[in-house]
Amino acid sequence: MAMDVIDYKLYGEDMQFVEIELDPGEAAIGEAGAMMFMEDGIAMDTIFGDGSMAQKSVWGKLLGAGKRLVTGEGLFTTVFTHQGPSGKRKVAFAAPYPGTIVPVNLPDVGGTLICQKDSFLCAAKGVSLGIAFQRKLGVGLFGGEGFIMQKLEGDGLAFVHAGGTLYKRDLAPGETLRVDTGCIVAMQTSVSFDIQYVGKLKSALFSGEGLFYAVLQGPGTVWLQSLPLSRMANRIVMAAPALGGRSQDQGSLLGGLATGGLLGGMLGGDE
């Protein structure tokens, strides 16, 4: 199936959106709710499944939709098609939380990309969204990405979004990189994904890095995020007085030590 070749432009620094330029007849699929604006001549259509195979049977569509549900996407995808006779039209998709959008040209990575659940933003029509089930029990439990990851397949452009700054790292054959669990956004299928115990009980308990690292071994390209959303959410909750939290980062040493007490409240409070 021929993919639609799309042109795009990224806006913003760390709260980005991507503007996609469509030629007549071209289409892009977007995660439900991700659309920010669209110009005249672009028609929005909601389809069941991911639109990669329009001729699929009902059962096949249901299965595809079920897979999408498991990977944290909606049951439906929206397709934005340029229906005008001529000229270029634009549609934009915005990231749902602070972070960066990375365009990945699927043919450049061998046609398949494994990515973090829920990280898909939009793609050229024809890119299929599947699931990559983590078969290694230990990795599924402690690797930080769970058992279900997303598999993007096709030969078009796909946009992936994750928190903080996204870092693309190329691993040479045999090169390994130890990564904090939860920071992996996407990888090529040739990259081995495993976990490794931090090695010392003392580190496991007090380093704050948890019990395991994720270990990635080349060859291949990986994308890492500097700030998983859950981590940021944690900090926000910790700092939200309404939820009984209080940021400890801004308190003085005294304030930090005596946060609970009256004095601590006065010293550490920044209200």
Binding site: D108, V109, G110, I114, A132, F133, Q134, R135, K136, L137, D170, A172, P173, G174, M187, Q188, T189, S190, V191, S192, F193, Q217, G218, P219, G220, T221
Partner: protein, 364 residues
């Protein structure tokens, strides 16, 4: 053997480049982008399994420029290679295949174990509910008689206030006489009451209290019909049905809560449904055992059948669906009763010596 796959190496794009790869008996040959062939003797090539989920084979070697890797993730090609490996790689490929199989087995085992872990509480709960009547019987048997009587007294005190009791009439005497016949040798000491109420009903309270509505006495054409109902009610007490129902409902709630967490709404519905089903079973048991008691007391069982027929006429058109009813459908009860009577055979019958017309007149 020839295939196209992603190749990583010095001078190639970091995300790999799809190149044609040829494997013959002694060499692995790549055709680089500028049509320059690169050939490596298989003796220098190491085979490893890796990639996401261990699905990828890597052919790795090093030369002066750096490390190279050919990745092969196509399952069909992998199978073809396993079936007909180049001699120099036969051993390495076999061990790679073995490793992949091992990973797969481990995954299946792991998923099986995880599935079992999550299914276990549910299975236990199902087993528990399946055998609920055994368990509740066992629990009810543990409750001492005194506790049961205390409980019964409490219920009776609450009920008494809402009843208009009839005392010192021929009907009281008749109920007590028939009741005594039906409860010979019981460990409970029974108390018999008659309440003024036109509905055809009688009920039992744990610990040995039986209340008969005057409507029932008026509707009964013979003392045997009253005896049939009393035999049924007495069995509710003898079999401790109330205690077992309590155990059942509390147990269901607790079990569901333990397995599914706080689902009080659903648990309540499930518990009351299971209680209703229990209650239907209990009614059937009371019917069957009541019949046996009638036989022991030499009372005509046709009275019981006739009473049910009267009841059936009374409640015609009011029958709720079986699942939502506390009693089995009357037609079903009558059919069951008739079969049971036929199975038990006829027994010598002593007519109850009571002036029934006088009894009925005494509550009018």
């Amino acid at each position: 053997m020839q295939f196209a796959s992603l190749v990583y190496g010095p001078g190639l794009p970091p995300s790999g480049s799809r190149l044609a790869v040829r494997l013959d008996s002694f060499h692995l040959t790549l055709t680089l982008t500028d049509n320059r062939p690169l050939s490596v003797p298989l003796t220098q090539v190491r085979v490893a399994v890796g990639g996401f989920n261990d699905t990828v084979w890597r052919f790795e070697w090093s030369d002066a420029e750096g490390r190279w890797a050919v990745t092969l993730d196509d399952v069909a090609t992998q199978q073809a290679l396993l079936a007909k490996p180049p001699a120099a790689l036969a051993q390495a490929l076999a061990s790679v295949g073995k490793k992949q199989r091992r990973t797969r087995t481990r995954t299946h085992l792991g998923i099986g174990a995880l599935g079992l872990w999550f299914a276990l509480p549910v299975l236990l709960l199902i087993a528990l509910l399946w055998n609920a009547s055994n368990f509740t019987g066992w629990i009810a048997a543990k409750v001492p008689l005194k506790t049961e009587q205390k409980l019964g007294d409490m219920v009776w005190k609450a009920q008494k206030a809402q009843l208009r009791l009839v005392e010192n009439t021929a009907a009281n005497e008749a109920v007590a006489t028939i009741g005594a016949k039906l409860t010979q040798g019981s460990r409970y000491s029974y108390r018999w009451f008659v309440a003024r109420d036109n509905s055809i009903n009688a009920f039992a309270i744990p610990g040995g209290t039986v209340v008969v509505h005057t409507g029932l006495i008026e509707a009964a054409k013979t003392p045997e019909e009253l005896a049939g109902v009393l035999a049924h009610e007495v069995q509710h007490i003898e079999q401790r049905h109330s205690l077992r129902a309590m155990a059942q409902s509390l147990g269901t709630m607790a079990g569901l809560g333990m397995v599914f967490g706080d689902v009080s709404g659903i648990a309540q519905i499930a518990a009351s449904l299971s209680q209703l089903s229990y209650s239907r079973d209990a009614e059937r048991e009371a019917d069957a055992r009541g019949l046996a008691v009638l036989k022991a007391a030499a009372i005509d069982p046709q009275g019981m059948v006739r009473m049910f027929e009267t009841l059936g006429k009374e409640s015609e058109g009011l029958n709720p669906p079986a699942m939502l009813s506390s009693h089995p459908a009357t037609a079903e009860r009558i059919a069951r009763l008739k079969t049971a009577i036929a199975e038990a055979g006829s027994w010598p019958v002593q007519p109850l010596a009571l002036d029934w017309a006088a009894v009925q007149a005494s509550v009018r």
